[in-house]
Amino acid sequence: MRAEAQEFYKGTYLENTGRYKGIWAWLTSTDHKRIGLMYLYAIATFFIVGVIMGLLMRIELISPGKTIVEPQAYNGLFTVHGIIMIFMVVIPGLSATFGNFFLPIMIGARDVSFPRLNLFSFYLFLFGSFLAILSQFMRHGPPDTGWTFYAPYSTTTGTNVIMATTAAFILGFSSILTGLNFIVTVHRLRAPGMRFFRMPLFPWAIYATAWIQLLATPVVGITLLMIIAERLFRIGFFDPALGGDPVLYQHLFWIYSHPAVYIMILPAMGVITEIIPTFCQRKVYGYKAIALSSVAIAAVGYLVWGHHMYTSGMSGKSLWLFSFLTFVVAVPSAIKVFNWLATMYKGSIDMKPPFLFALFFIFLFTIGGLTGLVLGALATNVHVHDTSFVVAHFHYIIFGGMGFAMFAAIHYWFPKIYGRMYNLKQATVASIIMFVGFNLLYFPQFIIGIEGMPRRYYDYFPQFQPAQVISTIGGFVLAAGLALMFYNLIRSARKGEKAPANPWNGTTLEWQIPSPPPLENFDEIPHINERPYSFK
């Protein structure tokens, strides 16, 4: 890099001291901070590709009948949009990026327990992603099954299902190994004096998430192998002609994929729990409740998968059990929302971009959560299952929730990562544009969903068009906001104003070290004597 950059980064992890130069210094690095950033850049790239897929769908849906693509291509679009967003963006999402960068620092460690395994996880992530993208272009055409690969269609369609499911398997392996690494790290590398209940809440969230990554992912792993076995060997597990049950596939698939949504949201909630006390300069209300609610969500979250399958033909007792457990799992999430609000009460609020994103998160996540209750209740679910109501619900939770939390995290930790500050005004404006665009994009989908607009449908009745038009416009407004945000961040990473070590007056360990951090994080490992979030 150029001389002035070298001078700026001297003594930090961004200085190249090793054997390699340039990109190889990154691709061979076992430093958790560099690995976290590499994940961040890869994920940001995949996110942009996924957004483009989404916008293409929005253009297609702006009017009934064919607009820009054929029906088969549309099926390919929503499939690849899902595969990219779920497996390559939101699941690795906050854990692989900010979990990698900040978990060790926030618990007072120099790195994770297995740094080389960490790098290997990243290579697996890249390889799996490469295969997923390749499956779009190989001979038999992009998969058209939806990211959910439901049997029997996924076992009989001619498209590149085997390559896509193999990609998902490899990506899952990456996720498992990262989870394994983080669990051991939290158990073995906490600084002296940092008992579990003195850990900040982002590490708590990452820890709970790691358990889900570790235990749930293997189930989808074996399930995808079964799909491949069906396609290659006609093994018959999900084939009614051979005695198999397609609903069993759904069980196996959702046994992972429901906990997977907690992989997405728990770190997001962890980020919000870090940001709110800092920008209210008040300690978190109910620290233990928030810590334990993360664990509760992880635990109960394993048992609710059937709420994706209410209309599939399950037994009545099953329906009842899953609905009941789904309502139970909503409770710890609600506890968090109350605790965040209580933390803000009588706080000294500083409306900086991270906090603004956090507020948007709470608003959007709440809407997503409440509409989740509509879906969790059996009777109402039957009416809205497989409609765009569901699409709106999960986008509010995943995008409005996890997505906005990701943006919040970037704006919160940016000065620490780069030692530079971004343009606060641009960040604020971008966030507001995104918030407006987001609601325009997704809220109408609740309405037409209730009115009967199916999901994954290429064509629709004319009465749904006005809402579809608003939604499409919203999509482009959102994209504009995203573009401004990206521009601001990328420009500022290279040329932003130098940022101090602790621009937000945070109390957790990452704010007690220089910005950017030195290679080994701490000159001396600190000794922890108190609960986190004690503001003077």
Binding site: H187, L215, V219, V247, H251, I255, Y302, L303, G306, G313, M314, S315, G316, K317, S318, L321
Partner: protein, 98 residues
């Protein structure tokens, strides 16, 4: 930091213990074959599984050294088994009551 080299328990399992466990495991294997040669309806599966679980317990405790490991690993093994059992039971509730 430097004393993390050895396991928390530097317990070494004696050859005798391992040999005895093997003998018990072999005996239980033959027991299983015997039990399943009679038709006891639903009890066949239950008993065979019960014996298998006990064999598994022996392998975990003595061969895999779990008996002498720290409490954390013991609790984790228990929790994973519980999770697996719950998943099977909950899925069963669908098929059993269709």
């Amino acid at each position: 930091m430097s004393d993390n080299h050895h396991s928390a328990s530097t317990h070494i399992t004696p050859y005798r213990t391992l040999a005895i466990v093997l003998v018990v495991l072999l005996a239980l294997t033959f027991l299983t074959i015997e039990i399943t040669s009679f038709d006891l309806k639903a009890w066949n599966v239950a008993l065979a599984l019960l014996v298998a679980c006990f064999k598994g317990y022996l392998v975990l405790s003595y061969f895999m050294h779990l008996k002498y490991e720290n409490l954390l690993i013991k609790i984790l093994v228990g929790m994973v088994i519980l999770l697996f059992a719950l998943i099977i039971v909950i899925t069963y509730i669908d098929y059993l009551f269709r």
